[in-house]
Structures are given as structure tokens and as C-alpha cells.
């Protein structure tokens, strides 16, 4: 009997022992947000988590983008004072979460530190070839930002979540600034619990006006089905990235909002693969897989069928001119190694559908599905002939030329089709010099046409956001740039 008592006591202790995190008390009106990726580096603005901080309403950039056009945020106005210099007038009366004022010196400091970060913020990468991409200095009630070469889209670049303004106290570790009590947004970041989540409180002195919700409890849930379940069970108010397979299970009062995103899902055909180096074979591949209705079947209508790389999130792309189409060769059982990654549940399904279509057309297909880091490690090594990738075209600036240069120029850093055409490179270089947004867009469409004509890429769809929103919740931002989500107007009931 004694033994049993000991066993029970030990079990009791163990069971009472280790729990983590809090359930969140919905009665207080705090918002419960389910994140789709973990805040492992403390929501630092340098890197992937920069967007997380803007989406939770912690940090803010000088300007924000609406339909590709910059509008005032922490800066109220801007002018190009020289070919390589822009002056930004700062909003008066703004304070950081630690109580210190938003001064021109603080802004210049934040920008200069970001420009010196490694790797260079994505929005500034194309300026970085000539040394420091930007230098900023305080100038009266504003800051002057200079670039090494004339830059027509500098205000757009400064909308990047990586170029947000933090209080000077945030830079104790210059390689990883901490936005804890250092942002300007509607919510004060109080605590980051490793990769588990973050706790935020309303900013009592927010410059846009009173903040509706008293606070935010964000927690990371790796599994998309788990996020959907938590939303349906009323444990979350906002759930990021609901998988397509779970969308139909979410019914009123919960809903899934879907704005078109500048993100395409496409098959990249390796131009140097032994099989697909032949343009006729590439055309045959395109002929087999392009007719598949991926948007209607696998995405169940929650995506837009792709006419090209650019979709409804970039309305100007609808004016694309037709491009030439190569005649297909007849497949003779060539072996194609098709690969994708498992983090987005829809991609393996596309792989299955594509593989079957290719087999029907007369190819032999090996399908590989890897976890994304294992997949990325093998990208560009020639291990696969064709890869299915979901790729953002935003690069934080809304500038299509930068995206095309990184994905389809010979020296591009993310050129998965290993496409290299001097004429395309020349077009991209010329467009990069242009100050006129319309010219840049026309050049982008021309490059898109060349890439599609070469069958370097076969676009399947452009994605829509799938943000799960709980019943009675209002004021969630529907931002096609995915930079904002929780705002000062977000409230429950």
C-alpha cells in the first residue's frame, strides 16, 4: 500500500508539474493571435521576423504602401531634393514605447544601422552593390536619406518592415535590435517567450488615436490544422495562414479573409538540367501541366489562376502583351525529377497532380517532397529538374523589377530555373535605372513575357491570404503586402 502511495505521489507531482504559457483570458478583451512561424529572434527587425512585428502592431516604418503608392506613416511628407537624396519630414508628437520622443536623430540612427546590417535588408539589396545602400542624417524636423546611385523608389523601399524606426535603446545588440518597449505602434511589446509567443499591451499614447484592445497574446502554432482548430474552438481571435484544406470547416461566426497576395506558385524548369535543357521538352512539360485547374481543385477557388507570374494583387499586370509560344516536342519517356516542400500542404498535392499529368503526356516522373530547409539546401544544385515553389514577389518594396532581377537574371540570388539570358539581363538593368514607375512596370511585363516564352517557369496560381478571424472581431487589416494585421482599431465584440 505504501508503495502505491509513493507511486501516486510521484505521478501527481509529475502531472502537476510542467505546463507552459497561459491560456489567455478572453474576458479582458485581449486579442489572441495564432502565429504561423516562431518568433525565435525576439521579433528583431533584421530578418524574417520584421514582418511579424509590424503585423502585431509593434513597429512602424516611415511610410506605408497602398496599391504600390507610398502614403504617410511616421513621415508626413517627402521630396526628392537631389538625384541621390530624399528628405522626409517626421510626424511631430510621436513617442516611442519607452517614452522617448521620435527625433530626427533616432530615425537617422535606425536607418543607418539597418543599412549596415548583414545581410542587407531585402528592400535595399539592389542598392548595396556600391557600398552602403543608404546613409541618413538629421536635418531640422526631418531626415535626409542619400543613396549611392539615383533611386526613384526610395520612399517605397522605406516602407519595408526591416526599415522600421526603433528607440535608440533598442540597439544594445547591434546585430539583433530588440523592439521590446522600443516601437511606435499601437501595441507595446512587453515580453517574447522564446519561440512560444509574445505578450503585448495597448500603447496609451498612440499617434493615430486610442487603441481599442487592451492587449495581445500571440502564440506560435506550427500546425495549420491546429490553428484552424483553435480558431473554431474559440481559443484564438486571429489565426494566420489557414491551410486550404481547413478553410471549408471554418463557418460563421468565424471567417477566413482572403486578399490577393503578390505571391505565385509556379513550377521552375531548370534550364541546365540534362532533360529540360531542350526547349521543345520544356514546352511539352508546360503543355502537360499548364491546363491543370490548380486554383479550382487543389485551392478550392481560394487562389487565382495564373495568367503569368503577376496576379490580381498587381492589377497593372492585366495589361500584359501576348508572348510567343514554342511548339512542344513529343515526350519519349524522359525521366523528370520533380521536387517540392511539405511546409505548405498544397504543394505536395500540386506535385501529385503535375506528376500524373506528365506521366500521361509520356514522361517518367520521380517526385520528391522534402521539409523546406532540406529542400532549400538542395535548390540550385541540379538535384532536381523541376521544382514547385511558392514565391513572394513583394520583396518589401512593391517593385517588380527587383523581384525579377533576383529570380531571373544570370546573377540572381534566387534564380531557381537557372535561367540566364543576356538580353533579359539588359532589359532588367535598363529598367532598374528608370525613375518612372510605369516604365518599370512595362519592363517587368516584358521580362515576364520573355521568361514565360522560354518556359523557364510555368505559373500555376497566385495566392490569396487566408487569415482566420474569430466571431465578432472587427478592424483586422486586410493588407495585400502582409505587413499589417492587428491595428489600433482591432477589437472584439
Amino acid at each position: 500500500m505504501k508503495r502505491l502511495a509513493v507511486v501516486l505521489a510521484v505521478l501527481g507531482l509529475a502531472l502537476a508539474g510542467c505546463f507552459s504559457g497561459s491560456g489567455g483570458d478572453p474576458a479582458e478583451g485581449r486579442l489572441r493571435v495564432g502565429l504561423s512561424f516562431p518568433p525565435t529572434s525576439g521579433l528583431s527587425p533584421y530578418g524574417n521576423e520584421a514582418t511579424l512585428a509590424t503585423r502585431l502592431g509593434v513597429t512602424e516604418p516611415l511610410v506605408t504602401l497602398v496599391g504600390g503608392t507610398p502614403i504617410p506613416a511616421l513621415a508626413t511628407a517627402w521630396t526628392q531634393i537631389a538625384p541621390t537624396a530624399w528628405r522626409f519630414v517626421l510626424r511631430p508628437g510621436v513617442t516611442f514605447h519607452d517614452g522617448s520622443p521620435l527625433t530626427p536623430d533616432a530615425v537617422a540612427g535606425s536607418l543607418n544601422r539597418a543599412a549596415a546590417a548583414t545581410p542587407v535588408p531585402r528592400a535595399l539589396a539592389s542598392l548595396a552593390e556600391a557600398g552602403l545602400p543608404v546613409t541618413a542624417r538629421a536635418d531640422g524636423d526631418g531626415v535626409v536619406v542619400t543613396t549611392p546611385v539615383p533611386d526613384p523608389v526610395l520612399p517605397q523601399r522605406l516602407a519595408s518592415p526591416e526599415l522600421v524606426v526603433l528607440a535608440p535603446g533598442a540597439y544594445a545588440d547591434p546585430t539583433r535590435p530588440s523592439p521590446v518597449r522600443a516601437g511606435t505602434g499601437p501595441f507595446v511589446l512587453e515580453r517574447v517567450d522564446g519561440s512560444a509567443g509574445a505578450t503585448l499591451a495597448a500603447n496609451p499614447a498612440y499617434w493615430r488615436g486610442p487603441v481599442a484592445a487592451p492587449g495581445v497574446d500571440a502564440r506560435f502554432l506550427a500546425d495549420g490544422t491546429a490553428r484552424a482548430n483553435a480558431l473554431r474552438a474559440g481559443e484564438l481571435d486571429v489565426a494566420e495562414a489557414i491551410p486550404v484544406s481547413q478553410v471549408p470547416t471554418i463557418t460563421a461566426p468565424q471567417q477566413v479573409v482572403g486578399v490577393p497576395l503578390p505571391r505565385s506558385v509556379a513550377v521552375y524548369l531548370d534550364q541546365r538540367s540534362p532533360v529540360l535543357a531542350d526547349p521543345g521538352v520544356r514546352a511539352a512539360v508546360r503543355g502537360a501541366i499548364a491546363p491543370i485547374d490548380v486554383a479550382g481543385t487543389i485551392y478550392e477557388g481560394r487562389a487565382d489562376a495564373a495568367a503569368g507570374l503577376f496576379g490580381p494583387a498587381t492589377p497593372w499586370a492585366a495589361a500584359r502583351p501576348p508572348h510567343p509560344v514554342l511548339p512542344p516536342a513529343t515526350p519519349a519517356g524522359q525521366r523528370i525529377r520533380l521536387a517540392t516542400y511539405s511546409d505548405r500542404a498544397e504543394l505536395p498535392e500540386i506535385a501529385a497532380a503535375d506528376a500524373d499529368a506528365l506521366r500521361r503526356a509520356g514522361f517518367t516522373v520521380d517526385v520528391t517532397v522534402l521539409e523546406s530547409s532540406a529542400f532549400e539546401a538542395q535548390l540550385g544544385t541540379g538535384a532536381f529538374d523541376a521544382v514547385i515553389i511558392s514565391r513572394s514577389q513583394q520583396l518589401d518594396t512593391g517593385d517588380p523589377v527587383g523581384y525579377l532581377a533576383s529570380d531571373f537574371s544570370c546573377a540572381g540570388s534566387y534564380n531557381q530555373a537557372r535561367y540566364c539570358d543576356p538580353a533579359t539581363d539588359a532589359l532588367l538593368a535598363a529598367a532598374g535605372q528608370s525613375t518612372d514607375v510605369e516604365t518599370r512596370r512595362r519592363a517587368a511585363l516584358e521580362v515576364e513575357g520573355r521568361v514565360l516564352a522560354a518556359d523557364a517557369v510555368v505559373p500555376h496560381i497566385t495566392e490569396r491570404a487566408r487569415v482566420g478571424v474569430g466571431g465578432g472581431l472587427t478592424g483586422v487589416a486586410e493588407d495585400p503586402n502582409e505587413q499589417f494585421l492587428i491595428t489600433h482599431e482591432t477589437r472584439r465584440g
Partner: protein
Amino acid sequence: MSTARRFLPLVTGALAVLVLTVVVAALPWLWDEDPAASVLRVRYPERGIDPDALDALRAELDLPADPVTGALGWLGGALTGDLGTSWVSRAPVGPSVAGALGVSLTLALSAVVVAAVAALALLAPGVWRAARRGASDTGRGGAVVASVLGAVPEIVLGAVLVAVVAVGWGLLPSTGFAGPAHLVLPALALGLPAGGLLARMLSSAAESALAEGWVRTWRSWGTPPGTVALGVARRAVATASPQIALLVVGLLGSAVAVEQLFGIPGVGSAALDAVLAQDLPVAQAAVMLLVVLGLVLGAVGVLAHRALLGPARSGSELPAGVPLPSGHARSWAPWAAASALALVVLTGLPRDGATTERRLAPPSWSAPMGTDAVGRDLWARIAHGALLTVGTAVAVTAVCLVIGLLVGVGGRSARAGAADVVNALPPVVVGLVIAAVAGPGLLGAAIAVIAVGWVPLAVHARTLATEARASGYVRAAVLAGATPWRIARRHVLPAVVGPVTRHGLARVPHAALGIAALSFLGLGAAPDSPEWGAVLADSLAYVERAPWTILAPTVGLALLAVVVALVRESRASS
């Protein structure tokens, strides 16, 4: 000689730990990839690799020159209590991994409580009946239910529980780990299948116990059946206690899929994420803490075995394993299950399993089992995948059985050793390492399942061998001058082979499930392969919208379990 033997398990255990540290430290080299590039990709996804950033990161991470240096450096730090700093989050590793381990321990212990209750409920009626009648057969009904329960994929059970209990009825929270209410559903999901396995294990031990002479003696004295049943239970639990310890340890690291479904920050997920991100300090710490805990719990299991056997073992007075009476009542269940399986496979083989636009179609005349998420006919997929699935599972189990018997009967000591080290490893981490060497695929998955799967059989064999060696006639054989080899072959092996084989058979569906668990991470069969694990992995997201997509492979596994559950080995004692 005896001192050397006493320390042998310690030495093999320490050696296993050392090898393991080097293997984890060698992951970047196995992947043939710069760890700095991996960390860079995790920190800055979809960006490609910038050489300057790579150099900066290399300097920051202070990467070791080769795996052995890295492993020894890490071990040196670990021995002084410094587990290092995470390469990804830059936070100290110790507290976060220890916290995750605590979470997993809590979950595993609750799952074991569930498993024990389930096993008890399954076995109690049979043992009671047998004790009253004086039979040594605990009945078939319990065995069938136990086998089917043991063949239910944890993740499928978890998904159904969430959909019904948490989302449908709103009774319990669906995600998180903030209090005891969060524990119920994951513990059920993990514990019920484990309870099925445990019941199979205990029924084997209970039947051996029921056949022992003392039961007849007690009964002839007129001992009440309750007392006899308790005695049998104690005897069976004694035999199974190392297995129960193994179960706890196994649940610690292998619950990754369930942890993710319920959003539980456990150590299995931590180890997996760290290995994927090549965050070596975290991976090392997670694997090592699991192994140390595995060794401790393994030792506790052995001690419990001794304590429960009491003076019988030390006095070498344990009765010999008595051969089971042959000629059991024939059961129709395995034949029915085998026929059903064969019928489904044979009629399904001519069907076309290509993708169509009719996705997630419910069962109908044209597709009697429905279609999956890309419109493939599920009947065709189940039929095409049957041979592959069953064949792989049987082959994996056979290899596990041979290794388990060799190690279990060959090893002399009942103490914890290399087997406990291996058992504590999360199978997904083993799968990742093997995939790193051999590439992802069914063969790699099978090897990964074998690498961990022989351990329970070896421990079972070890326990039974210890008991057999403690019986009177083995002592007599020793006194008569029999060689150790002759004793092992003539006296120990016959007492061990039967129950361990039956245990192994009960694990055939488990082997298929192990491969399925790796399929969820893309480490199993190719995703468009009709292997049932891959079919399950493809369909899990649709458990609520299209239950038939899950039903077909799950029922297939359950039928397989029924078939193997009732294959009775004749315990030929030569």
C-alpha cells in the same frame, strides 16, 4: 570476470552516448552542407545565400572544424553544466530544452496512465475468467480489441478527438499546454494505442503466468479467483515493467506529430526543429537529455522488475515457462479479416489510381471507397499499396525480431545499456539522420524504424531470459555442466521465442505506423506512392471533411492487426 560483466552495460551505454554525440555533431557533414548556410536559410528564408552574410554568420557561430572536435567540445561543456547557446535564437539552450523535456515528461506519464487503465480494462475480464476456470487462455475478444486499438495511428485518433471533443462539443481546449485540461486529449491520443500494445504484452505475460504450477496449487487450495488474478497480475506486470518504462521513454521523443497537432512545446518537436534548422547545440541537448532520461527510466524499469519478482529471482526459484496447451479453439476473426483484406486488394488491383478532378468525392458506386485530395480512387490506392505496406512492415518486424532475440538472449545482464540509449531517441530524428545519409525513401524509413524498433523486443527477450535463467531447471543444467551456449539454445531460447514472437507480431502494424509517421515529414515512401503511410499522411488534413480518406488506410491497418493478432505460434519446447 563478473566485475567486467557488471560494468559492461555502463560501458556500452557510455559508448553509445559518445557515438550519438558525434553523429549529431556530424549532421552538417552528413548533409554535405555548410551549417552556416542552413542557419542563414532559417533566419532569412526565400532569400538565397549572400556570401558576406555567410562569412559574418560563420564568425558568429564559431563552427567546429570537424564533427569529433565539435562533439567533444560540446560534451566538455555539457559535463560542466553548460549546454551552449542556440545558433538560431542565441538563447541559452539549457532552460528551454529542460522546459520542453518537462512538458514531454508530463505528457508521457499521463499517456502511460491512460495506457495502463486501457490495458487493465482490456485484460481484467479475461484474466478473471481464466483464474476462475483454471484455464491459461485469456480469451480472444480482448486480444482482438487490443490489437485493433494498438493499430490506430495516434495522430488520427488525436485529429478525431480534437474535431469531436474540442471543436464540436467545446468541452476541452484544442491547443496549448497551460493546465491539466490541456493534457486530456493528447494523453488519450497517445495513451489509447499504447494501451492496446501494452495489453498485448501483458496478455502474453499473463498467459505464461496462468500456466505456471503455482496457479494450479493455489486453485486446488480453494484460493478465491480474485486473489489468483491479483497474483497473476503481479507476475505479469513484473515481466512487463521494463516494457512499461520503455513505453514512457518512447512516448517522450516520439510524440512529435501529436505535439504539433495540439500545439504542445515538447522535446520531440524541439529536437526535430533543431535538427531541421541545423541548430546543433539545441539538437545535441535535446537528444542527450532524452537519452539520459531514457537510461534512468530504463534502470527504474529493471529495478521494478526485480522488486516485483521479489525473493523468487534471487533464490532461483522461478518456475519454468510451461508450454501452452495446444489446440486452442479456432477463431474465425483472423480468417475473416484476411479474406476481407485479400478481397479488397484483389478487386482493387485492376482499378485506375490516377489523379482526376473529382477530389474528395464521397463513396459512391464508381468509387466505393471515395477519392482523395487529388481525385485518386482510394480503393485502387489501398490495393496497390497493400503489398508494399504489409511486405515492408513484415520485413521490418522480422529483422527487429532477429536482432531483438540475439541481443536479448545473448546479453547476460538485465541492466540498462545501449538498447536504452537507442530507445530514448526520437524516431523522427533517427529518420532524419538516415535520410541524410541514404536520401529519403521507403528503404531509409524502414531502416529508421528497425533502428529503434528492435529495442522493445530485445528488452522483452532480456526480461524473459532473466526469468528463465532464474528457474530451477536452468540451475540444474548449470550444475550438470551445460555450456552457456547450450543453456541459451536449449533452455532459455524456447521460453523466450514464443512470447517475443507474439509481441513482434503485435508490432507489425506498429512498424507500418512508424513508417507512416516518417511519411508525415516526407521521410517515408515517395508522396505519390500508394504505401498506406503515405496515403495517411496525404489525407490527414481532410479527416473532418472527408473521413473516408483516412478510413480506408486505417481500416486496412486494423485488419492487418487482427490477422497478425491471432496468429498463434506453437510454443514448441524442444
